[in-house]
Symmetry: C2
Subunit: 338 residues, 2 copies
Amino acid sequence: MQQGHTVFFKNRPKIIATATVAGPKESAGILGDYVDYPLQDDMFGECTFERAERKMLLWALERSIAKAHLRQNEIDVMLSGDLLNQIISASFTARETGLPFLGIYSACSTMSEGLLLGGMLVDGGYAQNVVAATGSHFSSAERQYRFPLELGNTRPPQSQWTVTGAGSAVISKTGEGPYLTCGTVGRVIDYGVSDVNNMGAAMAPAAADTILTHLKDTGREASYYDLILTGDLGALGSRIVKDLVWEKGEDIFENHVDCGEIVYKVIEDEFQGGSGAGCSAVVLNSYIYDKLRRGGSIRKVLFVATGALLSTVSSGQGETIPGVAHAVAIERCAEGQI
Amino acid sequence: MQQGHTVFFKNRPKIIATATVAGPKESAGILGDYVDYPLQDDMFGECTFERAERKMLLWALERSIAKAHLRQNEIDVMLSGDLLNQIISASFTARETGLPFLGIYSACSTMSEGLLLGGMLVDGGYAQNVVAATGSHFSSAERQYRFPLELGNTRPPQSQWTVTGAGSAVISKTGEGPYLTCGTVGRVIDYGVSDVNNMGAAMAPAAADTILTHLKDTGREASYYDLILTGDLGALGSRIVKDLVWEKGEDIFENHVDCGEIVYKVIEDEFQGGSGAGCSAVVLNSYIYDKLRRGGSIRKVLFVATGALLSTVSSGQGETIPGVAHAVAIERCAEGQI
């Protein structure tokens, strides 16, 4: 890359609009007021979890394009992926939109991979407008990764709760909005965690690696950012990432926040917090994007969505759980500057 | 994009090296002499199909880097995906390499998505060297998508045989080799095929759409290309794509070849030919790359790998099978030119 594992965007690709949709449980949290479409019914009127999941993705995608005051045929590329086998949510959504479609897979770090690739496509002059979107659904994820909900399995205390929701962002060459300044491509890191209920611990080393690489490549202090926003490490994983970064001489205790930690009310039974590709997609594209747009105390955000790279087959064959995290810096000018 | 759905590479990103590994059945075909590592044992000394699949991917990837005379740390990004749930072959291979990793998913069109994105990353100056790789394994695909091999199910005549093999290409800013001139991002097209044994028919409309879009966007005649190389349509799908393109006024009868049609000896029981992400990856990166390097009659290739975007869940829920195809033009100068 241009410096270590980091690319720099010279032409300031902008996030000109975002849109989000979230389930009833998610909308009951602090984000509720910021979500475009808080669902009353997590089936979204559909007959299967999978159909509900892709309806959310399509809704968020189309709404973000509308909010950007663009017609669908003005979007050059759709970058999307999701947690379901063969990313069927993204693929079937792409079928509905008819947009040129590049499928990506990075588990729960799909949102940051989409922004990073979208940033390069727009910055490099290959596209005028790119839409990056992802989502997840609690029930489709449980069915695929764990047990049928009907079994009523108990959940261990280190577990997280897959977010029901979708988020979409329109990245453009022109227009108004916070812009992407640089991004760091993550490496796959494996510390040997094999507990499929402890995703936070599995992903934290990858988040720490990417944050440290980003700071080294850019020469920035951790304090440069008003917010270092990880994806879905949850409560335990957030403590681990802070510690791992601290061990290497950087301090993110004051400005690190995890989307999984803030997405739910703490009285819920989600234990460590939220997870899923929809977690960081909903939090970034609603609450955080609103903060960036308004331009108060949050002007520089390092968004580091995190993904656990396992499948039921890999776990069944005794493999450990590697993680990956991609970082993208989203900034807006200080007051009075352009 | 810069023109319709097509991007143009101004800086001629080059494919400076490729490497392939293929199973015994694949190596017995016409490609055998061109594959770097023809396997005697399709388990590659491993104890599971999945481990064998990712060992092939890692081998091809590392060999391509070595053939490019690069050290592993000179590779800026690894772009890879595969057919297994949550692309575990690519992710676990990325763990072994330690390379910055962007996971992609485009079913059997992964090789052309990798070349297309890799081309933009190198052409745009974001990366010096990118490796794009994918693969598949007959037995892991059968287990995941169809039936355990032990059942000994019969195969219908419209079925294809998933290629056991992997291919990798190194795309670079500098060096020698055929170069990428432009590429077209595919849309997801669905003609309503729901027979999971008839992938060729499901994917052919997407291939036709991308070829026609590419010709329109570039203003090129179909005859501009010495070869229009689709991914894994097989015998039936190849007839369909030629017909669909013909209906729209373009003629590819003379210069269209499908990787799935040429990968096996015709006496084998693979019916319509080869399929799988490894199919086009092996054919392009061995036989075709060799032709391009030597510079005989094959100097301009439009590589259009094709993917069927289904999962066992989507099929089980009664969905049809959408397809996608991404195109990338790989060319070399005419004799005497630079």
